[in-house]
């Protein structure tokens, strides 16, 4: 794998392979010695133009457990905020000998620009770009679903026959986009639920069903309900009237939680707004995979880094 930029261009075989490698990585994370020598001598740069401590430390842990050297390059307080361009930054990292760049950027497409520009030879791993994609989040979500459903028999399995309902700000969510492509590639059926203002205007080409009614969508008995973080500032731009109304119509509150089949998987990519898009009881219930998602994030990112950095880079 030369780069990991999006889930849209992953086929089922490579997605399952990545999840299977993540299973192997997860096994090693059960041991007392969690560190593997695999990427010894490789340099991974975490290039973060947006604050995201959670994602950064997840990647940092993944790199370190594979024995790569990690350089954290945060745009805050660096030359980047003084007007240094993405190109200059990339060329600096190239000169430093970075083997992989994990990039988080507020501009959609910035990782692809980095990968196709010729500024840098390193493998590019998209850690979230604008409102475009967040492929490792979707992969860890798929991994978590597969693990819950198939347990130790997960290896080699796809998500055939599973139904996933994703609820919230689809318009601005890179997590939603990456999950739509990945989960459907893996065979799941996906329903998106959101206020009409928070759905892109033209989703005819998306392999999903769109609903504006959460209760109706939940009554259909999905196997997985994935709640997305809703940003408070959206109400200032008139996407919805206020958080109370949002929560009442599109939040996973206690009432809705109790109506779910107890085998339903409740997911949230974090960080959560408890009491807004998800109630505390839902977040902490045994149906919730919120903490598993964090644990699995490290394994999935180890797998992505392994597939990116091991092997002959010409291939």
């Amino acid at each position: 794998m030369r780069h990991l930029l999006s889930t849209r261009d992953l086929d089922q075989e490579s997605a399952v392979r990545l999840l299977d490698v993540a299973e192997d990585m997860a096994d090693t994370q059960q041991r007392e010695v969690k560190k593997l020598p695999t990427l010894r001598g490789k340099t991974v740069v975490n290039l973060f133009f947006e604050d995201s401590t959670r994602t950064r430390i997840s990647f940092e842990a993944a790199s370190k457990r594979l024995s790569a050297d990690v350089i954290n390059f945060s745009a805050k307080g660096s030359s980047v905020s003084k007007g240094e361009s993405l190109k200059d930054t990339a060329q600096t990292l190239q000169a430093m000998g970075a083997d992989a760049v994990v990039i988080r950027h507020p501009a959609s497409g910035a990782p692809q620009t980095l990968a196709t520009s010729g500024w840098i030879d390193a493998g590019i791993l998209n850690a979230g770009d604008g409102t475009h994609e967040h492929p490792t989040q979707a992969l860890l979500d798929a991994f978590t679903i597969r693990k819950r459903v198939h347990g130790i028999a997960s290896r080699g399995r796809n998500l055939d026959g599973l139904s996933v309902t994703i609820v919230g700000d689809i318009l601005h969510s890179r997590v939603a986009r990456s999950n739509v492509w990945l989960l459907t590639t893996l065979g799941a059926t996906v329903t998106l639920v959101a206020p009409p203002t928070l759905v892109p205007v033209d989703t005819r080409a998306w392999p999903v069903t769109i609903s504006y009614d959460l209760d109706e969508a939940l009554a259909a008995g999905p196997d997985v309900v994935m709640m997305l973080r809703i940003q408070g500032e959206r109400m200032r731009d008139a996407f919805f009237p206020n958080s109370r109304e949002y929560s009442r119509r599109w939040g996973l509150d206690d009432g809705r939680l109790h109506r779910l089949d107890p085998t339903t998987i409740v997911m949230h990519p974090g960080p959560m707004n408890r009491g807004l898009e998800i109630s505390a009881a839902a977040a902490d219930s045994p149906m919730s995979t919120v903490r598993e998602q964090v644990t699995n994030g490290v394994s999935v990112r180890m797998a992505a880094l392994y597939l990116l950095l091991s092997g002959d880079r010409e291939n």
Binding site: S85, K87, A107, S108, T113, G130, D202
Partner: protein, 446 residues
Amino acid sequence: MTNTYLISGAALPDGTRTDIVLRDGVLAELGTGLSAAGAQRIDADGLVALPGLVDLHTHLREPGYEQSETVLTGTQAAAAGGFTAVFAMANTSPVADTAGVVEQELSLGEQAGYATVQPIGAVTVGLAGEQLAELGAMASSRARVRVFSDDGACVWDPVLMRRALEYVKSFDGVIAQHAQEPRLTVGAQMNEGAVSGELGLTGWPAVAEESIIARDVLLAEHVGSSLHICHVSTAGSVDVLRWAKARGIRVTAEVTPHHLLLDEELVRSFDARYKVNPPLRRREDVLALREALADGTIDIVATDHAPHPVENKDCEWDAAANGMVGLESALSVVHASVVQTGQLNWTDVARVLSSEPARIGRITSHGQGLVVGAPGHVTVYDPSASRAFGTADLAGKGVNSPYLGRTLPGRVIATFHSGFATVLDGQLRPADEVAGSAEQRMAARV
């Protein structure tokens, strides 16, 4: 240096084969078997002679943004593309909102000599959309400004737009509107639709253009003035224009070459060369624009030539500047998008790229066509050529062309501005030679 040229065996736009003699700045003779003593001879067998092209929408960047383009380099790009007149947009620094700035631009154009530079004046002071600029002073200046535009920004305030339309009636001016509802396009990065939804780029909805055009044609009707719409980009805008024209409203409209050829699918590459305002639209919009140009709903092609320094395009999409260079490629792109499809013939091309833009821009020195006695503005084009368009084909400072690496038909072989060659054998003539001939011409005029 000769000032007589014999273009032999060229096909006129209507297909007639003829020789053309340019002498003392004018088109002196037309006919077969012509000879002219001391003339430099251009063998135009198999080539098409077009009246010198006129671009109603060029960003020359000078004064203020000379790192992007200057009047000299911009008119060199124009000459390379077969243009002999360009209308210079007002968004310079300082803004072309006073008689002083427009006269300076006019002079710079006269000195360079590659093309006639006709300044466009700003509608509002500093393009700020708050207070009318001194439209009358610009109109009566030596630059004789008739076209006014805040291009880059929309004249959004309906009262201000109404007043501007009314005010220019006193000197037969025209307001060229950049139709973009600002509130609907905050942070917009590309056409809003299927592709923007997938890529997660903030959308620029068609309605933001169409609603302003609808409002402004009604305003123009109400006050009985004339309106020009810059860079029409959507099928819906075409419908509004068709309705307005049927109603007898004095509205004209332009389409850019890139909106005739390229569509939003290219944005999937996140290659910032495809970032432009208004954005590349859907394939069905492209097809509607071609049809509208063919049936006259859209009057002209204008380049919106917008050079930018490399660093403003060599970056992530959001940070990139809007705009593409277009002068050098315009004729080839029109050739590829509407001539090769059979929608326009060369007579139509002469209309949409020469006579109509000159008429809309109210200049008489251009756009008269290839007739004896007309000023010697001629473009000689090889329609059978085909080339992989590259940076060597660009003559201005900007390399932000969306066509680099694409195969385009045709090639400009020679351009004559006021009877002097600015391009010969497909090569730009040297700046000192062109400036020298311009100086001769100015001296002769006194």
